[in-house]
Amino acid sequence: MTRAGLTAAIVSTVAAIAFTQEPVVRVPGAVYDSDVPNEKPGPAPRRDLSGIWEPARGPGDAIGAQGAKNYPDTGRPAHQLPFTPAGLQANRANKPAWGPRAVASALSNDPQPTCEPQGWPRIILHNYRTAQIVQTPKQVLVLYQFNRKWRNIWTDGRPLPKMDDVLEPRFWGYSVGRWQDDYTFVAETVGLDERTWLDNVGRPHSFDLRVEERYVRRDATHIEVTITIDDPTYYSKPWVALDRLPLRFQPDTFDIREMECSPSEFARYTKEFAEPAAGIPTTDPR
């Protein structure tokens, strides 16, 4: 029997049977809201974001394989982004491995498989996992599990640089934040290297990108994070990529697991898995 025949004979899709979702396996030691349905959290501390935070609905709540959580690339009109002609052209040039435009991952031009920096804000629009926030007198530091990266947000009163004054593009930009009130912290980031993608489905940005991140401390155990993309060169109006994502406060003993991007490991994965999966000849050993 041919392989095709075999496949047809023994493998079929039974559409009537719903796939049974496996129970969500939890990060040991993590606390999610589903664990504490009747919890009455204490009051929010003033001007304090410090702590270890996990997506409150579960560890996978903010993994955006299909793109920014608020605008996944579904092809649906509600998720169409307000591209300018230049933005649309830039979007077409990106070849993501996910979404309706997906190509086989070995054929994608996503910078990630070579462990190029994903930059801001893709790190959280793609893979917002555990994050630790540290406040110092002059900065807010955010330490991300994904790719083991960190950012600093200046809070010493300096102004955000004007675009023309930015001397160098940065994968992580130049961030300045301030407390809008005792429970709302707003940071803005400019100077972002336009080689990075905004999300996992290749939404592009220009050097004119300005990202607003807003943290609202709801109570003792929650903050909500909102990310707004403002890039007039590529998008005709600002759009909210992440809308009040709830994060849950974790014990200070919580161990954030390592999740590095190793170029040699990625190269082996590409050679031994991604390329055969895409049906293309394997590359020379790297």
């Binding site: 029997m1 041919t2 392989r3 075999l6 496949t7 023994i10 493998v11 899709t13 039974v14 559409a15 049977i17 719903a18 796939f19 979702q21 496996e22 129970p23 969500v24 396996v25 939890r26 990060v27 809201d33 589903s34 409150a56 609905r57 579960g58 560890p59 996978g60 709540d61 993994i63 955006g64 394989a65 299909q66 959580k69 491995a97 996910w98 997906a102 190509v103 086989a104 991952s105 990630q112 498989p113 893979n127 996992r129 697991r257 390592e258 999740m259 590095e260 991007c261 190793s262 490991e265 990625f266 082996r268 994965y269 031994e272 898995f273 991604a274 055969p276 999966a277 895409a278 049906g279």
Partner: protein, 139 residues
Amino acid sequence: MRYALTACCVAAAVLAGTAPGVAHHGNATFDTGKKLVLEGAVTEWVWSNPHCFLKFDVKEQDGTVRNWTVETSNPPDMVNRGWSRRSFKAGDRVTVTLEPVKNGSPVGRVLEVMLPDGRVLSARGGGAAPAAGREGAPR
């Protein structure tokens, strides 16, 4: 039959687009919704980013041996699901339930693996993207 299967190939019903996010590096290549169940001997268990992968030999009916490479999610997700770098060693007899790629290459992604002692390691659940429609899950 092309593959020497001690367990039969089975049909699965995975709602389109809602496959558990075992992999986050592309969905286009997989024959989503299909399952193969293969028995073989582990040749290597590679604990690495971006995804771990298991390599194992499957003896085909004509006596030849085909080496399969099947991926899981990343190490921290797999630890959450009860896997570790010590889950397999070369020579272990395993029964792997996998979702193959469309092009017929001996690659796919793991759904679950039954160990020689009958224990089953599931590659699903946990730190992957929630299925469509679950984003608004109650807090």
